[in-house]
């Protein structure tokens, strides 16, 4: 039976979802619902945008104005939505391939503009929808169907990438640390400007199996044992941090927000909103 939260925020008629048993995307989606309620976002003013991939299917289950866009372009669609109607709360749900490979350009430019959008990356370090190819966040040396001899690419650190590109809020949480995920989501939703949360999600079906990480329970257990708070990580060496998940808020600053700045242009040009 769905919980009251699920009944309130989700399109229960579309459940069960398409995600594999053990996939953590469902927990992250539920965490978002909780965060939305905790912050008190009005359904009527909340738009949820996604790209393509496993994570992006979440919008079909969320009972809001939802738009499932093209691969990698969710932030570009979201930018149009937010700029056209700045009164809307715009949340983007995306995955690691969607946001940092095909959509990497849109990510850095959304960061640079500091446009008021919250971007939640369900980062399972693999292309799940297409069957387990390596992504820009697959750790070097790990395996995917297209990295049968081990991945030689270096992996992106999404919060660091976002922070250096100009995002004013950048954080990482884990699917295991769902309470922290909810708290950080609340902060991101309340943040004025562009906020990114990289949620370490798990994909037992493809990433886990191919890299011998065990079942979902083992993978979550691993997340628990290998997470380091960002403050603690500051005093650790690169060697010590190898293979660890640094969690917490990397950056939280206030800077001019894009749609507010554009409003000033309108005033300068003598127009009215």
């Amino acid at each position: 039976m769905p919980s009251e939260l699920v009944k309130r925020e989700m399109r229960t008629e579309n459940l069960p979802h398409i995600w594999c048993p053990g996939c953590s995307h469902g927990s992250v989606m539920r965490a978002l619902c909780q965060a939305i309620e905790n912050v008190g976002l009005e359904r009527k003013n909340t738009v949820i945008v996604s790209g393509i991939g496993c994570s992006s299917r979440a919008v079909g289950y969320l009972n809001f104005d939802t738009i499932h866009t093209t691969h990698g372009r969710a932030l570009a669609f979201a930018t149009g939505i937010k700029l056209a109607n700045p009164d809307l709360h715009v949340i983007v749900l995306t995955g690691d391939g969607d946001i940092s490979a095909i959509g990497g350009n849109h990510l850095i430019h959304a960061c640079r503009r500091n446009i008021g959008i919250t971007c939640i990356v369900m980062n399972n370090t693999i292309y799940g929808m297409t069957g387990g190819q390596y992504s820009p966040t697959t750790p070097t040396g790990d395996f995917g169907t297209t990295a049968p001899y081990g991945n030689i690419d270096k992996d992106f650190d999404i919060p660091l990438l976002a922070a250096s590109a100009g995002a004013t809020f950048a954080a990482r949480t884990t699917a295991y640390g769902i309470a922290q995920t909810i708290t950080v989501m609340e902060k991101a939703l309340k943040h004025k400007g562009f906020s990114v949360i990289d949620v370490a999600s798990i994909c037992p079906s493809y990433y886990g199996r191919r890299n011998k990480k065990g079942d979902a329970v083992k993978m979550l257990q691993w997340q628990k044992e290998n997470s380091v708070p960002v403050k603690m990580a500051q005093n650790m060496t690169a060697e010590e941090l190898k293979g660890m998940i640094v969690t917490g808020i990397f950056k939280d600053v206030e800077e001019p927000e894009y749609t507010e700045e554009y409003q000033k242009i309108i005033e300068k040009a003598g127009g009215k909103r």
Binding site: N63, D65, I67, T70, A76, F77, G80, H106, G271
Partner: protein
């Protein structure tokens, strides 16, 4: 009538778009369409509208669709290389039924080609540029004043049929400055909205003319938009019956309303014994050629498709059959000519004159070719 002024094609496009109610433009700089972006950057904020220069062409098209789902009339403008990049999200707008206007000011290709030279090499790309069977409406102006009116019409058709509309310009018209007299009194069509109370909404149900009524985001009517094949609530489905019904409706909403969408112009066709077919910039060559041929005693006329897709076939078929000789002029290597051949049928002689050097076809070349056809047995 207003006072005659000198105006550039790209400028007329901006004026038309603003008149139609465009309040959002996203674009990326590209010759020869940049003046449209520049004009929007200046004019939109004066009206409370929004201009944004996106990081690339893909993002511009995406942002335009995003703006449109909030109920804001939105446009982008580009040229060949950018138009290729926009195809992905043009297809999305077709599938998800999001109205928007895409301006393609054609330049010579392929690839980066000749950025400052005119061409009509994208005419088939406007029809089949994005993958899959999809509906599309394409309008092509052949003068600066027509650019103004067709830009307005592009928005009207987009909103009426909930579909992207392409305004197919060419460098010749985009960069041309000429005398215009613009009327202010034009019809403006706005998007239909539901009368139903707020709540979950079956947005993709076929409405009047097979067109759905999509509530704007933020109106309290909740539904899902997707580029996946979807049911009438907007949710993805693999159901073949639903998929077939959706795809048929998408095509039929244009097909069954062709009469309303199609438009064309005739120039001295009533007694014509030789028919010239040309559109956009090449119609300017065609019109001059008709005048020159008439002075030489050859009764030539011109049929000019204004709606390029869907093609207005009925009258073209009549005129081709009656004249028996049709000469198609295009600033490309022969693209639309195959459509004309299809409509004209095997009994009609269809000639072609084109140019792929970036230069304009000279009316004298057309006259020579027309004379050959006219005097041949």
């Amino acid at each position: 009538m207003s006072k005659a002024v000198l105006m550039q094609g790209n400028e007329a496009c901006v004026k038309g778009a603003l008149k139609a109610g465009m309040r959002f433009f996203a674009g990326y700089p590209i010759t020869p369409s940049t003046e449209i972006a520049e004009g929007c950057a200046v004019e939109l904020p004066k009206l409370g509208g929004k201009f944004i220069q996106m990081e690339d062409e893909l993002a511009s098209m995406a942002a335009v669709i995003g703006a449109s789902v909030t109920g804001t009339k939105a446009m982008t403008a580009t040229s060949g290389p950018g138009f290729s990049l926009k195809q992905e999200n043009i297809g999305y707008a077709c599938e998800a039924e999001i109205p928007c206007v895409i301006v393609d000011v054609q330049r010579s290709g392929p690839s980066t080609g000749l950025p400052t030279s005119s061409s009509q090499g994208d005419v088939m790309q406007t029809r089949w540029g994005t993958h899959g069977d999809h509906p599309i409406i394409v309008l092509s102006p052949s003068s600066v004043s027509e650019t103004y009116y067709l830009t307005i019409r592009a928005f009207n058709l987009a909103e009426k049929y909930m579909t992207p509309v392409i305004l197919l310009m060419d460098e010749m018209i985009g960069h041309l400055r000429e005398t215009v007299n613009l009327y202010d009194d034009v019809e403006i069509i706005n998007r239909k909205q539901p009368d139903e109370p707020e709540g979950n909404f079956e947005a993709y149900k076929a409405g009047e003319n097979l067109v759905p009524v999509l509530p704007v985001f933020g109106s309290g009517h909740y539904y899902n938009i997707t580029g996946l094949t979807h049911n009438t609530w907007g949710f993805p489905t693999n159901n073949r019956k639903i998929a077939g019904d959706l795809n048929s409706r998408l095509l039929n909403k244009i097909e069954k309303n062709r009469k309303d969408i199609e438009s064309f112009e005739e120039y001295l066709c009533d007694d014509a014994e030789l028919l010239i077919v040309a559109y956009g910039g090449s119609a300017r060559v065609g019109e001059e050629s008709v005048d020159m041929l008439r002075k030489k005693g050859i009764k030539a006329g011109m049929y000019r498709p204004v709606t390029i897709w869907p093609m207005a076939e009925t009258r073209l078929a009549e005129l081709s059959e009656r004249t028996g000789k049709v000469l198609v002029i295009e600033h490309n290597n022969g693209q639309y000519v195959h459509e004309v051949e299809r409509v004209a049928g095997k009994k009609v002689e269809v000639g072609f004159i084109g140019n792929i050097s970036g230069s304009y076809i000279l009316p004298t070349e057309v006259v020579k070719k027309a004379e050959e056809m006219y005097y041949a047995k």
